[in-house]
Symmetry: C2
Subunit: 380 residues, 2 copies
């Protein structure tokens, strides 16, 4: 929560423009976060994960600051280019790409692609001849609040074959990537993956293929309710692990922060629509907001991300509440298994401020589920 955001919201309310939940993103915080990454990992190039928040103002600021961009689709590539990034600062980081989308990215000048299997290598070889590829490896996501599945990446012992296949098909076998899990709270989690990466580097070197780059992925956390370590702590832990496994031959490195870059730059203002009990002897209150899983807070799925919530009543005593969204969908409940403590004095019509919502909110919004519009967003 920043003074600039609070000032913006106050002004919006005074103008009578206050017509539903909205996200406000403070670019000053994004700038500070970029500089913190650049300082904590000075020899690492930053590829901002566009999917976290593709607002043009955010991308333009980061392009100006010198950031590169990790893109999940051709649309995101176009957004990064429109924000001023040259195509050599763009990575097509999705391992699942239509061949015609690879061709479109190649035509736009993109030369760096993620792969995790032979079939994807073959698509890239056909549609983006001579491009650089990095192979994504599976990685244990223990310690992450938004866990990764086996969806992306191959087993580390399969990676050499995939990269050798790329090499044979005329691509540049450029490096490896992994992802330790979004909102990863343990800075030491990069160690195991880097050990595996160093093994793949050695194995391919023995076959005459010299990899150049390790993509350290994202996973850098933003502050929600629990304290997280500083970016500096992460940078130090990663550098130590690089030294441990690569010795004096530390490769080129890339990071792909998304949540860590914009999460704490944004705050959502929402409204209490209803407070009720289900029966007279019910101990839990239900508090319904005008924002829920389908218009911005999708990451409350399985109650994984627990956002800090501020109200004007925070000096008062609290009681555990079930917190739910406004739609007629029964899964549109934010916190129920672990009820959320809210002020007993909270009233229908009150505003609530939901912090740490700069990442993974706007783009998750449904186009119009139950007729509710997507989350509005303002970048200041």
């Amino acid at each position: 929560m920043t003074d600039r955001i609070l000032e913006f919201l106050r002004h919006r309310r005074e103008k009578g423009l206050d017509s539903g939940p909205c996200l406000v993103v403070d670019l000053d915080v994004v700038r500070d976060n970029y500089n913190a990454f650049a300082k904590a990992l000075p020899d690492t190039r930053v590829f901002y994960a566009v999917k976290a928040n593709p607002a043009l103002e955010v991308l333009s600021l980061l392009a100006d600051l010198g950031s590169c961009f990790d893109c999940a689709s051709v649309v995101e590539i176009e957004q990064a280019l429109a924000a001023g990034a040259a195509p050599d600062r763009v990575s097509f980081g999705n391992t699942i790409k239509k061949e015609r989308d690879i061709a479109r990215a190649f035509a736009l000048g993109v030369r760096l692609f993620a792969v995790d299997c032979d079939a994807e290598v073959e698509k890239v070889a056909r549609a983006a001849p001579g491009a650089k590829v990095f192979c994504r490896m599976l990685c244990d996501g223990v310690g992450a609040e938004w866990p990764l599945s086996r969806k992306f990446g191959c087993a580390p012992d399969m990676a050499p074959r995939v990269l050798e296949h790329a090499h044979r098909l005329g691509l540049e076998a450029y490096g490896l990537s992994f992802h330790v899990g979004s909102q990863q709270r343990n800075p030491r989690m990069w160690n195991g993956a880097l050990k595996a990466a160093a093994g793949v580097f050695r194995e391919l070197a023995e076959r005459g293929i010299v990899l150049q780059m390790v993509n350290l992925g994202g996973g850098f956390p933003t502050r929600y309710l629990k304290r997280v370590s500083s970016v500096r702590t992460y940078g130090d832990a990663i550098f130590r692990a690089l030294r441990r496994h690569f010795g004096n031959q530390i490769p080129e490195t890339i990071i792909e922060p998304g949540r860590g870059m914009v999460g704490d730059a944004g705050m959502i203002e929402a409204e209490v629509v209803l407070i009720s009990k289900k029966s007279d002897d019910d101990e839990l209150k239900w508090v319904y907001l005008d924002i829920g899983k389908f218009n911005g807070l999708a990451e409350t799925m399985d109650e994984m991300i627990r956002y800090p919530i501020r109200t004007d009543y925070d000096a008062d005593p609290r009681e555990p509440c079930v917190l739910a969204g406004p739609t007629c969908d029964s899964v549109d409940v934010l916190y129920e298994k672990e009820p959320y403590p809210l002020p007993i004095s909270l009233e229908i019509g009150a505003k609530v401020l939901i912090e740490g919502t700069g990442a993974y909110t706007t783009t998750y919004s449904a186009v119009g589920f139950n007729g509710f519009p997507p989350l509005q967003s303002f970048v200041i």
Copy 2:
């Protein structure tokens, strides 16, 4: 799957308009479904649940057929009115409403509102004086594939007080509603709720308040992989339960089908983007489509809804596959806990047809998660 849908898709492909996943809805099926409901429950008014699919063509057809509309928001009310429904055929069925939205609905002519607590009654009394209200009761959702939580409704023994409160505040205490759970496969599930409803009718009659209406909710299933009973079977079971609990004084009734009205009227065509294995000794293939949880198939959440999938390779032997969507989000996996049997010969680039997708697909689509556009929709 209908011939008209297949013909439309063939034509679209021949015209080269085939640029991503799309839903095609056949209005002939919607018409048949409406007529089946009208026939199975001849004394019951149909309030189509707009949230299931608010396409203008669907709403217009249903308005012409005489349907009423269950709306979750002011936007949905406006959609129903734009499709030709008079406001006396509209119910504002969401129990969670901003007071200013109740006032807007009232100004548009809506006179029927759902409530489930005193606070909501008070909002309706202020913003829609004299309107009819029905009180939603909690109902056990056993047997439903899309389970209902305690989010909507109050305990049946609280309902008389809520309706009495409405009566005292000058509203018309009109009736009760409940919802037996979406995709409810047991036609006898209405019995217990109707028993409770009859009890509330009696209790309020003793206090001089005569309720008129029971809103039987939705829950009518559409055919996915498992066989479901006919609408007629549901109608018979409901009528028997009404007779059992209300005797000769059967109240006015309403149903709110959504999935049962449009689910089997729609089919999605999608494309296989990638097929891979995670390691050489992996037994499971991963099959990635260009549609996933964030651009149409949100109801695969927790693998709850299991859609029938057709391919051109269906004569060939099958093997269990993990089925996933195209985004860089690890939760964008459709079926993994229970892998989906797909033809061994299935290839990258092949089209797949996903049946039963007329309901709860388009409006769940994210505005642009990972840069992927929302699901396209065609109504024919």
